[in-house]
Symmetry: C3
Subunit: 390 residues, 3 copies
């Protein structure tokens, strides 16, 4: 395992530029991959560190300055991610005031393929006493204190981007995210493995939601969302309007407002803790699949935001420890896990890009077989009082 | 036209240092001009990009990091601008919390000759639901995503500083400012030509106010404000106290509070869309003149802030789409224009430094002739309920 | 006196790296000292300037980017400072939103040995009208506009870190801090001499509190706080619980909440304006001593925060112009001094590290003799209504 440390505050180490490829890594001739790191300059991205991994089939960018989120990815000719109205990202946290706009300031930097929401809270803004808890928490706007690249010299030549981010201060929660984003040369996917560590001497409530966001070409008129559904519930009246077509997507429709659905998913047939969700295009020959574990991420949220192309035409596939409601709401329903003293918790999500009708049909088949365990319960209306954004 | 791109996020281009003069530009020997760009370091200006243009007679600095505002200028021996209590500007937006002090945080960075106020709103802070809309909006604290210098090889050798700034995020307005600040070698003035582009698939309300600010030597005891006035209205009781002398200035008076006047100006005799306003010194031999179009900027505000020299002794000449009241107040009075889908709107303001008694008298004559169209209506008291800052 | 200017915005001077030692300074061979300056990179410290002074016996770091606070120090093998849950400091102010968490955002950057609290206000958050005044004011999150190092070629070779920080904007207070942090080769201490200058043409209320913070090895179970006490008053019920043991410390106790005590101290026997306070370890062979003047800093606050080691096990010795209550509370009790126009005020605090039983006993003896002037008045309960944090 070759390790390249790019940031380590403990030893005051920070590398401005880094670039290596299979040759520099000493990998066999047939293997293609490259990893680069640069600091961006100018505009609102000024000072943002960006890591780019190209495994030959899949290229993706990780943003240490924004909580180790995944900014964009490219697989074959297909873009993973979306066209955010945030034009000039990735946005440095110095330009994001999380408390702005009544707690919606997070949106000023929101343009990622994967934005983590948490760690002390996520979901819609809420207030407790005089304190405002902004949309989706702090982790996406905290820079990593440690960043390293690991590449294995042994087949299949694992490539890992490791990062550590601390959300911690006096009189508050202290949680460390240790993420390992892993891929392999030639693979059409990656795994995000996160470990959440209690840094304090007290138990800490924590929440994590993975805001995976996709626009065209996966999202398009006639695109479909598929998952083995135990229950699905519209968040509010607006979502209820579309409950009968929750799994189908319209084209960009300026003036449309978002629809959010809360799911319980069914466990897999082989591994009962594992489940999956898929977004596939109209033709059914191109899809993204998320795989995760129900014991780690029991709540799944689908965010359909099919406004105009320039307004943010996007859908969010969001596995989480909870639904994106205010923390107290989720806590009252037992959906806010606690990290014990010295406690740590691992959460893993796999993203796969599926290409070709046969491959898409295979995933659809697996979802169908999983669904055969039970009929989906479709609630026509919200089962809990309305709260807010998703 | 020689073009030097200094920032272009789309191609990840950013130039840290840039310096060129007439020789480097290949201009004829008699022509004097220079353009430099640097990144400032230290204090609250750390990370601010600054462009300096010297056309031989007029030198001015443009701040891409602060929404392409004009920081300071110098013409002959005369300073254009003012002594802001913000001592160590230009201030990087990372040090400005627009929500601070009940929405007055904007003042932490306010030290420019020209600060744009807008684009989604400007004027006094207001709240809508849980959201606080701070004083004078966001544009002055957003960095440019594109910056270029253009110089024409052909006489009269136009010099242009071009910049693009986006005020845009999900679930909010999306407006692009494309500014071209133009001058010519030897000219004692410049033109700010702004284009405002709707980036979204929905109509967007927008507001722009040009906060041009002058201290000594143009502002001094006995200095005068002149414009062809259709109506003038004091904003509040404090302004009403001084309505009979609204066009005259006192010297620095510690403890004095600001007086704000709202104007409708008369159209020019030749071009009925064009109007002008002048600040001239006591001797009447030195003035600054703003020219703009009533169909672009129908509202004019005069801000008299003649406090102590160290408190901010300054006057603001502020043409705008509206008066600097909360947006809903202005909207109810039809003073908030809308950008249609694919819409764009151009606004142009010319600043001229006038030197010598004869030249000043000529402008005064033009203002007088324009005024001869109608008697100025002077409202002794506010005609609309009091709102806030200007 | 050799002077090295490291930052001077007035002349656009900023030095990224600086390093000099006794040789470079031309000091005699027996003298040991070094001064370095660097810009930190990565994480939340990205862009922070750090100055390190080593006088041979005492090494300490000053943070121009954080209001010239003292980050950490080392004397012999002993660390001065504490383990803040802010893991990766010193934190750049761009990552601190003072308005966050109902005005407790200051805690996001709080990890210093010495953090100044002020200058327009300090203490617990409060609101006036729509404006929120966050915990402990702004000065600790404002970067210096001027930084210089002075070293005397003449014995005893005074070493000075000078810095100037402005807290100033339009329509608000304008106060300049001019600090000189002084030490000598071989000395086991330093002096912080601050000058506060009114930058405006109006009188300005100002507040300063020196938040000196110590963890192990000075703080430990059985460690003691000693000072010549005129009166001591618990801030609230929680502090009242421990009033009988206010001078004794427990070990790290997860779940414990802070206890804050307000003191009037007795004047020294020799110099009646001078007083002192000491924190010494259980064995009584290791202590830190603060000396200051009652005419400059009449109020003393002891902050006991003996939570878990990872929660912030720390005590604050806090001489100030006031107690850390909201400004209006302090003002009503005559504890908010005013800076007149053209006024300036000097405040000096000496920190000494005392090693060895005899030396600690000598300080204890001095405190005892000073105490002999009067019996300490120990209020069992708060004498004023409860307000907030310390």
């Amino acid at each position: 395992m070759a390790t390249y440390i790019l940031t380590d505050l403990a030893s005051d180490l920070w590398v401005e530029h880094f670039a290596i490829d299979q040759q520099g890594l000493g990998l066999p001739p047939g293997v293609r991959c490259s990893i680069t790191k640069q600091r961006l300059r100018g505009g609102r991205r000024d000072g943002v560190d960006l890591i780019r991994v190209d495994n030959g089939n899949l290229a993706f960018t990780v943003v240490p300055t924004r909580g180790m989120g995944i900014w964009k990815a490219q697989c074959g000719g297909d873009r993973l991610g979306w066209d955010s109205p945030v034009q000039d990202g990735p946005v440095h946290p110095a330009f994001v005031n999380l408390a702005a706009q009544g707690g919606l300031g997070w949106l000023d930097g929101f343009d990622e393929l994967l934005a983590r929401c948490g760690l002390a809270w996520n979901g819609a803004p809420f207030t407790e006493g005089a304190a405002l808890y902004g949309l989706h928490g702090r982790i996406a706007n905290l820079p990593a204190s440690y960043v390293a690249i690991h590449v294995s010299q042994d087949p299949p030549h694992e490539i890992v981007v490791e990062g550590r981010v601390e959300e911690s201060h006096l009189f508050g929660p202290g949680i460390q995210l240790i993420t390992r984003i892993t891929t392999y040369p030639g693979q059409r996917g990656l795994v995000v493995r996160d470990e959440f560590v209690n840094l304090k001497d007290q138990p800490i409530d924590f929440q994590i939601l993975y805001h995976w966001n996709f626009g065209p070409p996966f999202l398009e008129p006639g695109a479909r969302f598929l998952a083995p559904v135990k229950t699905v519930t519209p968040r509010d009246r607006r979502a209820a309007e579309g409950i009968d077509r929750y799994g189908e997507f319209d084209g960009p429709s300026p003036g449309t407002t978002e629809q959010v659905y809360f799911f319980e998913l069914l466990p897999g047939l082989v591994d009962p803790a594992r489940t999956l969700a898929m977004l596939c295009n109209r033709a059914g020959d191109r899809a993204v699949v998320l795989e995760f574990r129900l014991d780690q991420l029991p709540c799944f949220t689908l965010w359909k935001n099919t406004g105009g192309s320039r307004d943010g035409y996007v859908t969010g596939l969001e596995p989480g420890t909870n639904y994106p409601n205010p923390r107290s709401f989720e806590k009252a329903r037992g959906r806010v896990p606690s990290l014990e003293v010295n406690g740590r918790r691992v959460v893993e999500t796999r993203l796969t890009v599926v290409t070709g009708e046969a491959a898409v049909r295979a995933v659809e088949g697996e979802i169908g077989r999983t669904q055969s365990q039970a009929l989906a319960v479709v609630h026509q209306y919200p089962t809990e009082p309305f709260t807010a954004a998703g």
